[in-house]
Symmetry: C2
Subunit: 147 residues, 2 copies
Amino acid sequence: MLDDLDRKLLDILVKDSRASLKELAQQVGLSSPSVSERLRRLEERGVIRAFTVEIDPEALGYPLQAIVRIRPLPGKLHIVQQLIEEIPEFGECDKVTGDDCFVARLYVRSMSELDKLLDRIADKAETSTAIIKAQPIRRRPPPMGNA
Amino acid sequence: MLDDLDRKLLDILVKDSRASLKELAQQVGLSSPSVSERLRRLEERGVIRAFTVEIDPEALGYPLQAIVRIRPLPGKLHIVQQLIEEIPEFGECDKVTGDDCFVARLYVRSMSELDKLLDRIADKAETSTAIIKAQPIRRRPPPMGNA
DNA sequence: ATGAAATGCTGGACGATCTGGACAGAAAGC
DNA sequence: GCTTTCTGTCCAGATCGTCCAGCATTTCAT
């Protein structure tokens, strides 16, 4: 599916998605049109979901983050899921097995905002909230083999 | 701190970090040298943490993900944290308030690999694992105002 | 107020980079 | 063994990024 060169390109792009085709090309030992073509195909196949930028939430005014576990009350699952999706402060949400139906990340400006946001789902689900104190590992991709 | 143009640039870059300076420039109504300078400063100030690429984990051979809550045994906190950081299959880890000391995301190839990886910390911490069934919201930044 | 300095922008020139097309070689299918 | 397909290279025209000089606006000390 992916060959070594693809993995190597991905590895470089994870660290710098603005790397020029020329630079990518010399790193992997191809010409730039070839690299261009590979990138096009990686994107087309969905291997590359997006070229994006990682932003410090604090710079946008969100100094606090919380992990919220959410157990919708009987019959409320879909309403709760929709509500979560509509609240832009949710920065991530996974639907999981087990008692907790959803595990989500919430960006907030303050404790009172956290309280206010959780109130919006309080009548439709039970929640358990944990404030994030530190981030030992920030989002990174799974191992890419020998890259 | 950030003005409207900065937010607009970030908004565009979140969706396409390979956008050319020229394109960014016309979207925000500046010249390309100005945009170049703004990007340089956003990066320098740490607002932009990284230009990166979002990869489909499945394409790298990791079709399963789990959320693992980790409660190190007394005195084992640092060892556990170090262990987590060293295991590349952990794709994210937050240190939180409450009983669960860490909440982490684990990429795995199979259930048996999940079991094998959790065994590596089993003698140093209690864990609760939830398999991810769906991702209603994939990683996204907090609201950027009127962008 | 006023002048100096700093900031942030523009436009143009030049060099670097990208794109698209013509073509070549290896692998796969008939 | 020949054709088709896939992946790559090379080249030239088009596009893009960077550097620099100059200008407007703001800030601040006088």
